[in-house]
Subunit: 340 residues, 2 copies
Amino acid sequence: MATPLPPRRRPTMVDVAARAGVSRALVSLVFRDQPGASAETRSRVLAAAEELGYRPDGAARLLARGRSRTLGVLMTVREPFEADLVEAIYPEAERLGYEVLLSARTPGRDEATAVDGLLAHRAEAIVLLGPDVDDAFLAELGARTVAVVVGRAAAGLDSVHSADADGIRQAVDHLAGLGHREIVHVDGGTGSNAAARRTGYLDAMAAHGLADRARVLPGAYHEDAGIAAAHALLTEPELPTAVVAGNDRCALGLLDTLRRSGIDVPGRVSVVGYNDDRLARLSHVDLTTVRQDAGRLARQAVRAAAARLDDPDLDPGETVLTPELVVRGTTAPPGRGNCP
Amino acid sequence: MATPLPPRRRPTMVDVAARAGVSRALVSLVFRDQPGASAETRSRVLAAAEELGYRPDGAARLLARGRSRTLGVLMTVREPFEADLVEAIYPEAERLGYEVLLSARTPGRDEATAVDGLLAHRAEAIVLLGPDVDDAFLAELGARTVAVVVGRAAAGLDSVHSADADGIRQAVDHLAGLGHREIVHVDGGTGSNAAARRTGYLDAMAAHGLADRARVLPGAYHEDAGIAAAHALLTEPELPTAVVAGNDRCALGLLDTLRRSGIDVPGRVSVVGYNDDRLARLSHVDLTTVRQDAGRLARQAVRAAAARLDDPDLDPGETVLTPELVVRGTTAPPGRGNCP
DNA sequence: TCGTGGAACTAGAGCGCTCTAGTCGCTCCG
DNA sequence: CGGAGCGACTAGAGCGCTCTAGTTCCACGA
């Protein structure tokens, strides 16, 4: 019988080679699925590895190959739309032969820390999810490594996002088409894509001859902002008939605050979100929203990273996808009052 | 002037050493913050590194040190409670000198794949979030490496979870105290912690002399299960006066489906969740729920992993935290009818 | 004057892989 | 019969670090 399972040490290629009675190089071949080993030897090696519980050491492998073929993804662990993106990143990365490493920005852990972690683990490219990444930080990161921004435009870097102004325009068109005139926008605060959405709203209102009725409430991309905006609206003498929120989370906050205050949605107020995240799609939420295709966004981002990795001299590209209004249950013609 | 920025190659310690005019070993010392370098040299090295944009290569470092000091965390990117856990894991890991790597299980990417990724990146220990991890898989993993399960008990492994039966009992006590007698439980399906919660419910009902009224509806830990359960209840001639859901997501599904069907919550039906995730706490949801302390759960898990790493012969421990009912706005005495 | 000790620094052997440049047997063909 | 050609396999030099065991140098005391 061959040597028993090793004491504590994680088994290495040497152990497998010894047990299978071949050289280290051969084991390496087998594990890389390269030609050059006979079927018989191959299975002997695999068997030996199995018995020892061997798995190739990523660090050593990384070091030995030039490339890590690892994509680092910076995410906010709390944002449902980013969760959708992450789920779509995995398969595309796998298809292109990349591994994925996730790192979260949290209230107590800033982007720089999160990215450093990824870089230390040899991520070849960083995919930054979410529109609130800092410009200066981006520029520096882009100089150091391959970076792709998802969710907003980023000068001088690869970015993948949807045509925000167009998306908001579709929302306003829809509402105006239903007969709404008092349409308010709760915006996404600072950040380039909030600005784009704001502009889109103002332009669309103007296009419908409603420029003088346009009104932007300061907001942000989370529920609390929607709640605050709803409370602000409720203190006013007259409610608008429709609200376009900066994103779905904000819309959700708005929605529930309005409903809990006895306001019928969409009977008295229509609400539109942005993103079409999982939450919006849940049947009990049933939010009319502007759909960004998370799958396509994610695939494009991964491809952009891979392309730049293949050819670092590529010009930075901005991929803009066309968003699409999804009409669900939170919009209706105005004036149905509170009791349908 | 010294050499200009290198062409493409990521700079290495050799480059920094050359630029600073010292040996590689000294650079290593400086970057590991070890004594043995004069203040003057130290800053010279740091300056050289800065100029070159050098950052230590994690892979090489990993390989050279025995240990990676990295914790791998398996998560479901879509579960808000796990997001809370992840956020709490980072600071504790940092405090103990560990890095954190995240890997997501998704519909198309199973636990084994996710864990393999972590292991390949040399995670020394795996923290598995969520109760649906497979038993056989766990056992095998536990034999291979250090694994800590969060959210359920796991025989033979370290686990950190809350006293599920106790939590549910508190919920039932609360409802019974309000005068409810028709209390239904929508359970979490298979999985050990769903079983514990189910048992807790049945025992608590019995303790209140309501054994014959106890009723468990099959469910799961997500919104759709809550929605389905609500629809099932709505087809029946008589609604129960209270529902204890398996977790918050399920409760949310229930809640909104009931409300959209014109059922007053808590006037006609009271709803209780489990977890107290961010969503439950949002003011527009305001869910009465059983709070699991994500912070403590996360800290305990990290500590358990660290402890076992320090001493592999430690007996596997089960840490059970006491959950606590948080009464909010979705529970009230029964019988207030539909129009308060 | 010489040792002595400590601070500052260096040489060089790994860590577990990959990959290039082989070597070794065969078969096959002229 | 000699060698070209090929499949199967191996030796050994890295990859960019860490870490042990030095070596140098310079006070400082006897």
